[in-house]
Point group: C2
């Protein structure tokens, strides 16, 4: 018998997405977002949700563009910091010593030291309540070449990303391989 715990924002896992934007003076900022995910395959899109109170929210509205930088577990402290303070109050690149790089395709900065980068053009804005849900079309993905598999695609076991647990407010690493998709479930097919 399951126990009801009320209407809480809990799913497993949620990502740790570092949203990169320029403000109106072209100063780079980053923030951490766990509310988001891939939202379409064609065109390829990611949607993220930000509170209007954040500095990044205004930046996305202004620039119609953002990046996502995905940290490895060695960068969890920096990622957490990006979610603690506002870009209005602190220069988060200066505080961490990380390097902003202007995206090739959109007017937004990414973090040079982070292993996996997405460049996105804003295509939809949806007001849901406390959060605004921004959908960006993925224009390019960039990866550190030494962190790819034999096909040249990002290798999760080399990138070692982290996930966010919204119930316990904690970060976890990636565990062991459980199985290949579209494969391990075939045993149930009629």
């Amino acid at each position: 018998m399951k126990k009801s715990i009320g209407a809480k924002t809990i799913i497993y896992p949620t990502p740790v997405l570092i949203v990169g934007t320029y403000d109106k003076y072209e100063k780079p900022n980053v923030m951490a977002a766990a509310w988001g995910g891939i939202s379409c395959s064609r065109p390829p899109c990611v949607s993220i949700s930000l509170r209007e109170a954040t500095y990044s929210h205004g930046n996305i509205k202004h620039q119609k563009a953002f990046t996502l930088s995905i940290p490895s577990k060695d960068q969890a402290e920096e990622a957490d910091y990006f979610g603690i303070v506002s870009g209005r109050d602190e220069d988060k690149f200066a505080s961490t010593g990380l390097t902003p790089v202007k995206s090739d395709l959109v007017n937004a900065p990414y973090i040079d030291e982070f292993p996996l980068i997405l460049e996105l053009k804003l295509v939809n804005t949806l007001e849901l309540g406390l959060h605004t849900h921004f959908t960006g079309e993925i224009l390019d993905v960039k990866v550190d070449p030494e962190l790819t598999d034999s096909n040249g695609n990002p290798d999760i076991e080399k990138i070692k990303p982290i996930l966010y647990d919204p119930s316990g407010a904690a970060y976890y690493g990636i565990g062991e391989l459980v199985g290949k998709a579209y494969t391990i479930g075939k045993k149930f097919k009629d």
Copy 2:
């Protein structure tokens, strides 16, 4: 120097969300969705993206409701199967021996054996291209009581969920604790 690999749908991690719906004859169906995430804190919402071709897409349009059942790693084979076949062709509950339970609050079924359940009322539908982006308001979360922490909240280390790697098309477990959120990043604060 990063390598550009083009516009691919890759972020780490993505969830394995099992979407539960009734069809117009009230027959229960489930499918696997990795495109989705939490999208608002107040009201609490989750957004998921489904292709129009799926049986579940029509069911959500008809019922304006769905559930999400989150598998543990011991249920990865069943979760994978739910993404391989269509509910038009096979009765996925019969094939796996899992038990559909009608949600208390919405007209949609969840999987009794899965550890964490969300019940959602459809509040927004957004056409993005190949995928339709459905936003549901979370009306309740249900959890197996033995899988909670000392505060009665879901415990990720007991639930042992899985994640989906869209680059390698594989499932992984949860790894070790990396750190507490809003804590490990404080060292960078001015």
